[in-house]
């Protein structure tokens, strides 16, 4: 268990929303599932803190980018399942293009030689 923590990376500020929205693009998911999906898809590198995840989920819900409904799981438990809304999809596209710009910009700073002429 201690092994994994060593490789953990801090999430960049403002990227959690992007990750949550992207994760929900593949289908409705509950909070724990979202956290696991992010971890799995990042090769265990990105650990989402519950203390950041839930406030973020509720904030996105309040902004109507994701919707939530209650379902009953196979072991008869109430589960709150989040899914992407139309507004959320639009938001995801915007966030993705912003992220692309950001990574390009950072790459440009780190590798001035490889800077593309455009």
């Amino acid at each position: 268990m201690g092994e994994r923590y060593r490789n953990r990376m801090e999430l960049l500020q403002g990227t959690l929303d992007l990750l949550v929205l992207q994760t929900l693009l593949w289908g409705p998911q509950h909070g724990y599932g979202i956290a696991q999906a992010i971890r799995a898809n990042s090769g265990d590198l990105l650990q989402v803190d519950a203390g950041s995840l839930y406030p973020a989920l509720h904030r996105l819900e309040k902004q109507k980018w994701i919707g939530a409904e209650w379902k009953v799981s196979e072991n008869k438990q109430d589960v709150k399942v989040y899914k992407l809304t139309a507004a959320g999809r639009k938001r995801l596209t915007e966030e993705r293009s912003r992220w692309a710009q950001l990574t390009d910009a950072i790459a440009g700073v780190l590798n001035p030689a490889a800077k593309k002429e455009s």
Binding site: H30, G31, Y32, D49, A50, G51, Y54, D78, V79, K80
Partner: protein
Amino acid sequence: MKPWWNWRKQDRELQKEVEHHLQMAEAERLERGASPEEARTGARREFGNVGLTKELARDVWGWRWLEDLFEDVRYGLRVLRQNPAFTAAAVLAIALGVGINVGIFSVLNGAALRLLPVPRAEQLLSVDQVFHGRINRNVHNEQSFFSYAEYLDYRDHNQVFTGLAAYEPFLEATLGGLKMRGLLGALTSCNYFDVLNEHAAQGRTFVDADCAAAGQGAVLVISDELWRSAFGSDPALVGRQIVLNQTACTVIGVMPAGFTGTEPVASAFWAPVTMQKNLDAGHDRLGDSNQSWLAMLGRVRPGLTLEQVRADLSVIATRIDESHPGRQTTLAIARAAFFGRPKERGFLIPAAAVVLAAFGLVLLIACANVSNLLLARASVRHREIALRQSIGATRWRLVRQLLTESVLLAAAGGTLGSLLAFWSFAGIVRLMMSQLPESFPTLAVNVAPDFRVLGFAMGLTLMTGVVFGLVPALRTSSLDLNAALKGDGAQAGSGKKSGRFLRNAFVGAQVAVCMILLLAAGLLLRGLYYAQTVNPGFEMKGLATTFFNLRSLNYDESRAAEFVGQLRERAAALPGVTGVAQAECGPLSSDRSGDRFFVGASSEPVAIEYNHVSPEYFSVVGIPIVRGRGFGANDWKERSAIIVTESTARKLWPGQEPLGKTLYSRLTGGRRGPEYAVVGVARDAQVSHLGESDTMYLYFPGGSPADSLRSYVLVRFAGNFTDLGNGLRGIARSLDADVPVEVTKIEDNLEVWRAPSRIAAGLAGALGGLALLLASIGVYGMVSYSVSRSVREIGIRMALGADGSEVMSHVLRQAMWPVVIGALIGVAGSAAVSWVLSSMLFGLNARDPIAFVAVPMFLLLVALAASYLPARRAMRVDPVVALRYE
């Protein structure tokens, strides 16, 4: 956004969501082969701070404040429950303060804010006119009233009312036949009841045909009260004729019990406005287009604003102004309520402000008292506050917590007080009304609480909670953590200079406010005493008066002169009667006449009150003529002789011989009228206003036949008043059985003058008493608190050799200086504002030295007694016990 009232449900959902997360994480760990114990703690550890996460998630929705509030309320209730003595004292003080304020507000609300008690009253507007520029107007009751012609103009040409009614509010009338009584009724336009949407309980109300022409429509609608009291609830009354002011009228309807008209004074009957000349003979108001006499009420069309109504009616007003060059009329339009006329409001608003201020002062004392209790308790709570602070509560959070507690206290006190007020004030108002002399009409004031009263009560309660809680909360939350946590709570409480200063300031404020109220009560009481002992300048004892309004009984001048002449002659022959006189205005009656006169060649007119009196007046009333002569029997024919009072002569012609000086009456348009010459000077007497003998006053020779239409007959008698009354009534009945006779002693007129000041004195006395009680509890509380806090200090003093009396005087000195400073401030404040009472003091100086010495002495003595009781405990401190204390 999810509605806030769902926050509890959402809270449960959040809890479930978090639990689910933990269970999933736990299950995964179990799958990977961890022990159940490991799995659970691991899941928890990975999740982090569950409480914090939930709080952050909740913050997203903005429910945090609500949750904090719940928390604070729960905590506050617990704290208050734990200190029942403190809570009870504070709640009682607030209940008292808030209760009396809510009560007085409900009275004012009933008197002036409530809409008229008719269906859909919110649509009813009152219309008044205010004249500017050159005004030349005949006025009956109020200048803001309308003439009949103007009313018809507004009624027929406005676009904003579904109906516009007019009425003369106060018509005095005598019910004829065997049931002779004076009544107050109204003359109304024939759509009056339709506009009000009121229907008769029996019979009908007016129809347009009743108002078709002047002198037509001898029909009456009477009140339920009159139907019961004068006609014994006769079910066959409708359709019968009764005689009102010597005019036979057919009763066509009886109104339901709740309807008393649209004035605060209840109406007994309503007659068509076209009957004005018949019912009030001798005056033609109906035909005079420049006569103010009709109040107007309109039912506005739905959806119109007051501005639109004013705009529409102003067109008519401007058109009417065209025939009155130099005059501009503005209209005052308001939702119809009692006392809504510009002049009435002008009187009511300052009066209400004074009353509300006086009541507010008592609430202020109660607040200061509770503040002090809270401050005293703050020292006990230092450790608790320090603890909360050390685990991270911000100052703002603490203040909010403490304020929640005080608002809870206020809510408890406010609710209790308001309930008491709702329950008791109707009775208190009845009691006060019963203090008024019988000649005062009963007022239809509804003091039952409505939404305005409830709003006032809640607003006042909330404000009270913040007012008395804020200073203690700010102070309690700003403590020195180190000192408090070290456990030196006792010293943190009493040792801090600012805490003691605040408590002293609160005591001083209470004393100051209490002083103002007590001084007001003292001044009013002194005024009453003064009014009883003062020499009015004439002989009040053994003087009886009776008033005849023969004009209202359709007498003409010669018949009236005959009646009064006969009556005077035969009254003079009654046993015990030593003199009979006649006057236009009886001494200290409610009748008063006045006009503007030109003095000599001066072009500036002077306002002077006057009276038309018969030659015997001066000897009968007992006013000596100090210069010149009295009136002779024929002076009224010449119409040129006048008698002025001494002070009038002094003011008009200082240092000159008044005899032979001339005055001119002022005719309409400001022209000079007939000349009058002073033939005598009478001694000053308070015949017009009790307590004022220096009013400008002059006497005209009276006794002309016209004077007899409406006059007072004054009888000087020695002997039994009842016999005199019977004798006068017998004479009048033998002359004309239809003339009502009411004989009163002049001394009884004094009651009318004293009633307002007696009510005010009672009110101020009751308020002052409450204030004194609260303030002495405040002083007592502060002294006993500071004694209990400085037991150790006292013990040391005693151990060092101070004896009991030294300790005592030390404690008393400390206790009394805020009291003395507060008292001084209160006296200075009173001296600055006591002039507002001067109209009720009968000429007593508003800074009457006796009141201003006696009241402060009394208050200081009470304060001394209140501090002596706890100070005695200080004297009995046993040094040995005291030094071991704590």
